[in-house]
């Protein structure tokens, strides 16, 4: 190789290398390696259930374009369920409501916001006592607080209810009658510490999948966890469980009593715990049960519980004696940690308060309480059923911070805090949800004393039981008026007289409270579509219009408007004028106004500005000497709860008997008011599915979720189907005493009911199962039983 050859070879090599590099570059043009740095990420709690997962919301060009699980969030640790991953899509359904609309001659016509607010205010002005405000467990804390102040403090009207009445009311009465204060003592950390997870009629794999995965992941890693599904139909949860105990509907009462009886029979109850921290209680008159009942002795308790032997309860419940003994063995074992969870199975129950009390009772009796992993914890279905409906108290008998309208002292505290004249707050509780809508649907001259209802953030036209009676009957009554604020057309807006377009989720700022006492805050990230506006603004604007019309309740003692916001300089900001609504952080102002009210029941919620940097904090949140804020995981336990007196170990400091004791209740097994009979031989159960959230208003607009679950169906046992000559996919008619509905039969489907049971999900607005459900409710919590009524089945 001579010099020229070598140089030529070198040059060729150099060119080849450079060409290879050029080819490599061309495969990676600069624009393709673009890093998505124009996506802004911020945190928010998920819009759906009460688990309270934190998501990261990716916003680009004013639109939500991506969602990610928040890895630092203690609740979900980066995981979400399929609904959570697709929560961004709920904002962009094509039929978003974008203009206020008034029904004229049966047709909804666009009007301006000024007209809409004026119409609403004048309806209220005409008959303030006949107005009802129906909100939700999805209302934010500031929204609920504003509703409460407007209604109870402004209009002296207690007809305010949240849809949580249909969902959580029995859990509330269970907690209050047991501990004297609402909300669970344990938290999700129990799932990380328990040896046994006992689910009472709770399909966690579909309804709280992120929490369920938390347990499954532990078992996967080899932790000692036994998962027990106590249910009335085989579900995805049963498939993951170590034990599936299938019982007959309503007999959960007897099963809980049987566990208590075994503890006493074997002498395996925690004598020291019970003697120090508990007392026994029962209803004075089982025909007329009330919240607080009367004290009974231990011997009396023992005597009443005696009949619930495993043999007797086995006959009632369908569980074997061995299965009942298994449950007894677990609670009798002091060396393991047991966490009980429940949701609608126990709450939507004509004896909802009773079964809640009994489950707390067996945990107290056995001493499986107050230690990490030892807790009875109810799970909520809505993101702020706890934070808003329960803690802010938008129920018809409550005031903020666990106060009651019936208590003069509590009313006085609120009147003082709100700077209202003494006596402004009405001492009589308003109508509970079922009654509120019954009164709307009853002619005025026949005692229907409600003529106008304003609905926010919920869909009663879909989710009330026995809809023909409780909702649709309103259309017959000319003088009744329904105002519905929503984001999409729903079964509720279908017959509404005034429809208001609302901002949704990250189109507004908000604060939620999840199932484990965790308060969570987020900021507005994108603009709502069209004329859609915040529900909070609507409440304030209607109140302001009433103020202008001369309603004296809209003024405080000094003659100022009850919703007075000021800027940094102390000047009033006219937040009722939408052009100025965002001049101050109204959310922060209302939340901080509410915060001191939470101290009475030691529910100290965290300051707004602290929450703005956290993925939620569990109350009581107490300031430390170093200025930091500490959350509380286990309430009533000295090792964690700062309000327990030192040396007491456990203290129920809001005891109904004022002696630091929790109540162990005796409640008998009672039959359901509509058990199957010869005419209607099936149990009909309704519920949810993984992909859809409640009435499907949001999730049915997300293609991935609708694609997975496009319509409702009816799960039928193959033998029951065969008996009426029906195969998989055939049309069937289900009828109850209230009507009938056509559905497709699904045999061996996602859930597998035993013979004699039907299951229908309620998300599908084209197949409203609530047209035929029963409106019977728990006498204490007033929560209806959507889980049981008698039905029959035939081929279509």
């Amino acid at each position: 190789m001579n010099l020229t050859e070598r140089r030529s070879f070198l040059k060729t090599s150099a060119l080849a290398a450079a060409s290879a590099a050029a080819a490599a570059r061309a495969e990676t043009p600069f624009e393709a390696s673009a890093v998505p740095d124009d996506i802004a990420w911020d945190k928010a709690p998920c819009r759906f259930c009460g688990t309270g997962c934190h998501v990261k919301v990716g916003v680009q060009d004013g639109k939500v374009v991506a969602i990610a699980g928040h890895p630092e969030a203690a609740v979900n640790k980066g995981l979400l369920c399929v609904k959570g991953y697709h929560v961004g899509g709920i904002l962009y359904g094509k039929d978003r409501l974008t203009d206020p609309m008034l029904r004229r001659n049966g047709v909804l016509e666009k009007i301006t916001w000024e007209e809409a607010i004026d119409i609403a205010a004048r309806r209220i002005m005409k008959n303030p006592a006949g107005f009802g405000f129906y909100s939700s467990g999805q209302s934010t804390i500031p929204e609920g607080y504003a509703i409460n102040k407007f209604m109870k403090g402004g209009l002296s009207n207690n007809h305010t209810e949240p849809n949580a009445r249909l969902c959580m009311a029995s859990a509330v009465t269970g907690y209050i009658s047991t501990y004297g204060v609402d909300e669970p003592a344990g938290c999700y950390d129990d799932f990380d510490a328990c040896n046994v997870l006992l689910m009472w009629g709770n399909n966690m794999a579909e309804m709280h999948p992120v929490l369920f995965s938390r347990i499954l992941d532990r078992r996967e890693r080899g932790d000692d966890v036994t998962i027990i599904d106590l249910g009335t139909r085989r579900t995805r949860t049963s498939e993951f469980s170590d034990h599936y105990l299938e019982f007959r509907p309503q007999t959960d009462l007897a099963i809980a009593n049987c566990i208590a009886r075994q503890l006493i029979e074997r002498g395996a109850w925690d004598k020291e715990f019970v003697e120090t921290h508990c007392a026994f209680r029962a209803d004075a008159d089982i025909e007329k049960p009330d919240l607080l009942g009367v004290a009974i002795s231990f011997d009396d308790f023992k005597q009443r519980i005696a009949e619930y032997t495993p043999e007797y309860v086995s006959g009632l419940s369908g569980l074997s004696v061995e299965q009942l003994t298994l449950l007894g063995d677990l609670f009798a074992n002091p060396d393991i940690r047991i966490t009980s969870t429940w949701c609608m199975g126990m709450n939507q129950h004509t004896r909802g308060t009773a079964i809640n009390r009994l489950v707390h009772g067996i945990h107290l009796l056995s001493g499986h309480f107050g230690k990490p992993g030892d807790a009875p914890t109810s799970l909520t279905g809505q993101p702020s059923a706890c934070g808003t409906a329960r803690e802010v108290g938008t129920l018809c008998h409550t005031l903020p911070g666990g106060r009651l309208v019936a208590k003069e002292e509590h009313r006085g505290e609120c009147e003082k805090h709100w700077n209202l004249p003494a006596g402004r707050i009405n001492p009589t509780p308003g109508h509970h949800t079922v009654l509120l809508f019954e009164k709307l649907c009853t002619p005025t001259d026949k005692g229907g004393d409600i003529d106008t209802i304003m609905v926010q953030v919920t869909n009663p036209g879909h989710t009330l039981p026995n809809l023909k009676k409780l909702y649709q009957a309103k259309t017959e009554l000319e003088d009744k008026f329904l105002i519905v604020s929503d984001v999409y057309p729903t079964a509720s807006t279908e017959i509404a007289d005034l429809v208001l377009p609302a901002a949704l989720w990250v189109e507004k700022s908000g604060v939620y409270g999840n199932s484990e006492r965790r308060t969570q805050q987020w900021f507005k990230m994108v603009e709502p579509p069209g004329q859609a506006r915040e529900d909070l603004w609507m409440t304030i604007a209607i109140a302001r219009r009433l103020f202008e019309l001369g309603h004296s309740g809209m003024k405080d003692k000094d003659g100022d408007f009850i919703f007075r916001f000021t800027d940094d300089a102390g000047n009033e900001v006219p937040a009722w004028d939408y052009a100025h609504f965002h001049d101050v952080n109204v959310d922060r102002a209302l939340y901080e106004d509410y915060r001191p009210l939470t101290h009475l029941k030691h529910k100290h919620v965290a300051p707004y500005d602290v929450l703005s940097r956290e993925t939620g904090m569990r109350w009581p949140v107490v300031e430390q000497p170093d200025g930091s804020w500490r959350e509380t995981r286990w309430r009533f336990s000295e090792f964690d709860d700062p309000f327990v007196e030192k040396g007491k170990g456990i203290e129920f400091y809001h005891s109904t008997t004022d002696d630091g004791r929790a109540q162990i209740w005796f409640c008998p097994f009672e039959r359901h008011p509509e058990e199957p009979d010869d005419e209607y031989p099936f149990w009909l159960c309704t519920g949810r599915v993984l992909e859809h959230w409640h009435s499907g208003t949001m999730t049915m607009r997300v293609p991935q979720l609708r694609g997975a679950m496009p319509n409702a169906y009816c799960e039928v046992h193959p033998e029951d189907a065969a008996a009426v000559g029906v195969g998989n996919g055939d049309e069937i008619i289900i009828s109850t005493r209230r009507g009938e509905i056509a559905l497709t039969a699904w045999l061996n489907g996602r859930g597998r009911p035993p013979r004699g049971t039907l299951f229908v999900p309620f998300f599908d607005e084209k197949r409203l199962i609530n047209n035929i459900t029963l409106d019977a409710y728990c006498p204490i919590s007033k929560e209806p039983d959507y889980k049981k009524c008698a039905a029959r089945l035939r081929k279509a």
Binding site: A16, M700, A708, M709, G751
Partner: protein, 291 residues
């Protein structure tokens, strides 16, 4: 040329040779990385003509259950059509073993020629169609057992580096999460139970999800590319980049398991909160602007 001459020649030209060897190495490495960047192109590849799929015999799969040992008496026959309505829906010979009987074979060596633009476009579109946005859990493009997710892993596991019935199932990249169906739902659920469209609620959606960022960037042609996606939920790199996976994104050095040592994650893919649009006020629990 004797030995001395050879040594002299190499000594004299060692610089040149060094450069030549360096260049050859560089070409190989950059060729590999060019391959690495051809993301997502072969998702639909790997389908072999049926004739090339070796016949399945259970013995070929180590640890495979020995189905024939189950007493055939336990397995009822499938019901006849007229009997279906009146018959229990039980396991039967005709469907129970379908999966096990599908022909399966180890994944063949991948095609080394880069996919054409059209093939790449088809593959990228198919991947996109299964996701609401980049980072969303993909929907399931086939029917599933609606009750249990135990069956998922029989194809979507590490052992799933097999072509089963002509398809290569993607491997799970987060195997510690076992409740598969809580995030992955069928694209077309219910099937025969889906009611006629006019009787269903059907609303169009205008959500426009974040697109895939495509290829990673590299500082210079032979540098290891950065990761163009978050690590979260994709911690098992080998699920997509391992041996037997798609040629376009398959690693040439599977023996090096500490992937993040060289392939840097990018902060922009960590979904970090920016707080830019919502300046947060300083922490001041004593609030002055109470209403």
């Amino acid at each position: 040329m004797d030995n001395h001459e050879v040594e002299t020649y190499f000594r004299q030209r060692r610089k040149t040779l060094a450069v030549v060897f360096l260049m050859i190495g560089m070409l190989a490495v950059s060729g590999f990385f060019m391959g690495m960047r051809q993301t997502e192109r072969q998702v639909t590849r790997g389908q072999l003509p049926a004739a090339e799929i070796p016949a399945f015999t259970p013995a070929e799969i180590p640890g495979a259950p020995k189905y024939p040992e189950i007493a055939t008496a336990e397995i009822p026959d499938a019901p006849k059509y007229p009997e279906i309505a009146a018959t229990d829906w039980l396991a039967n010979r005709d469907w129970k073993f379908t999966l096990a009987n599908l022909p399966r074979a180890a994944a063949p060596p991948a095609d080394l020629s880069p996919p054409t633009e059209e093939e790449a476009a088809v593959a990228i579109e198919r991947r996109r169609s299964l996701r609401a946005y980049s980072g969303a859990p993909p929907v399931v493009p086939h029917a599933i057992d609606s009750l249990r997710s135990t069956a998922c892993m029989s194809c979507h596991s590490e052992a799933g580096n097999l072509v089963i019935g002509g398809k290569r199932p993607p491997e799970i990249s987060h195997p510690w999460i076992t409740n598969c169906t809580s995030c992955h739902v069928p694209a077309d659920g219910l099937r025969q139970l889906t009611a006629a469209e006019e009787t269903r609620l059907h609303v169009e959606n205008e959500f426009l999800g974040k697109a895939s960022a495509g290829k990673g960037s590299r500082a210079y042609p032979t540098a290891p590319p950065t990761m163009p996606h978050p690590v979260w939920m994709r911690q098992n790199c080998m699920a997509c980049h391992g041996p037997g996976r798609e040629q376009a994104i398959r690693t040439s050095h599977p023996e090096r398991r500490n992937c993040l040592q060289c392939h840097a994650p990018n902060a922009a893919f960590d979904n970090r909160e920016t707080y830019s649009t919502n300046p947060k006020p300083p922490i001041d629990p004593t609030v002055s602007d109470q209403p």
